[in-house]
Symmetry: C2
Subunit: 232 residues, 2 copies
DNA sequence: TTAGGGTCTTGATAAAGATCAAGCGAGGAA
DNA sequence: TTCCTCGCTTGATCTTTATCAAGACCCTAA
């Protein structure tokens, strides 16, 4: 681990309220590993032996069935993933792969379970983290069931613009075919959806997005905090 | 509350590990209410003032957006719902309505939050409950993104048959239009999907389902515990 | 008993989305 | 530089799903 990095991790909401001796014990058993791009870190169905913390680059969570594959989420540093599987001591429900060269901390799940059973601060933080994750998936589920693919794209762009400070322009920071899979459509249909949104004040050139008429886009997208506010 | 009922609630996994004095304090502030059918118990967007426990009948959780509506889940007794909103002290993400005449306990969210902050046993139970809920929604999300509507129906029938003891016949116990909404399709398409499955050993007459060739159905449905096992 | 309302089913049609095939264009390797 | 690869786009076509309309069925209330 790099100097100062452990302090940054200690400040993460999930770990900040732990007793210092428990934090130290947990991270004494940690492995820090570097992975090349496109490496499968975990495979769905495998036992959840480790809780993962992404330090650098980002990680894609995806699911497969019957030779089909779908991107479920991307995890950006510094954040954990697969907390629920660790807690339930169940199999991973999703696979994870690195997108670029990535550094990840592996925390033995057994240690995590042992510690949260006695450390109240840690237990509280886990509760908040899980509640947040749960609500995120519920929002994704509503997005998918209630909206068409063009509507999902429109709202995705509004969310990203807001996260980038409502500048009216930002970088997608994700390959289009992955974005398509995340949004529940094919790459071909994403291209067409982008063209449709050209008529509502959206211009996309490569990975550069420009929102020229946010009002028009919002009138089409009809965003609601109950689906689109990540903090809600 | 009826005699013995409180003891049954005390045995629920979510409450069993609480300190007795905390359980008593929590339920001193409880309201038991009876509701007629088709009553909206909570509306998405409202503040989560109460944690709900369904005692009798069942409750439908649904979401709306832009004049569209979708059934997200049904809650059968005895179980709680809207735990995550209570904990986050955030707005409900889903609405809930009674399907039949129902009895529900309302526990003030503020009391729940106060108690889980100090009661370790309760906190542990909440962690397990939330992890379970989270994994359930992830499974639903995979179901929706990776499968066609006929595949979703086929797997739904296999799950229900299994829950009914693999008798090969069971009652749907849900209106078809609600089932359609839950599975992410229209009522018309559910009818057609049923006809498609007639060719794979499924007969549905009214609400009575008969699986005449489970092997054939399973070969079509390709169930996997990573989507279809509710306990996994 | 009949009338009315709701659900469910069916058929015809429309829309949304997926698939297939071809070509473009940026970036990397020889 | 040229060639190759890969991601992206576009058009044509097909499949899946939704919508609209009509009729069947069932339950309930007058």
């Amino acid at each position: 681990m790099r100097p100062g990095e452990i302090d940054e991790i200690r400040k993460l909401p999930l770990f900040a309220a732990m007793l210092p001796e428990n934090f130290d014990a947990l991270f004494r058993g940690a492995y820090v590993q570097s992975f090349p791009p496109q490496i499968e870190l975990i495979r769905e169905g495998d036992p959840a032996d480790f809780l993962h913390v992404v330090l650098e680059s980002s990680v894609e969570l995806f699911a497969t069935w019957n030779n089909r594959e779908s991107t479920m989420a991307t995890v950006a540093p510094i954040a954990t993933f697969i907390l629920a599987a660790t807690i339930k001591n169940g199999p991973y429900l999703m696979s994870a792969r690195t997108l670029e060269k990535a550094r990840v901390i592996l925390l033995p799940s057994a240690d995590v379970r042992k510690i949260f059973a006695t450390d109240t601060g840690f237990a509280q933080a886990i509760i908040l983290d899980l509640a947040q994750c749960y609500r995120s998936v519920v929002k994704s589920h509503k997005d998918l069931k209630l909206r068409t693919s063009v509507e999902r794209l429109a709202n995705y762009l509004l969310r990203k613009d807001q996260q980038a400070g409502e500048q009216g322009h930002f970088d997608l920071r994700i390959e289009k075919r992955r974005l398509a899979s995340y949004l529940g459509m094919t790459a071909e249909n994403l291209s067409r959806a982008i063209r449709t949104l050209n008529g509502y004040g959206v211009e996309i050139d490569g990975s550069q997005v420009r929102i020229t008429d946010r009002k028009d886009l919002a009138a089409f997208a009809k965003p609601t905090p109950l689906i689109d506010d990540p903090k809600c």
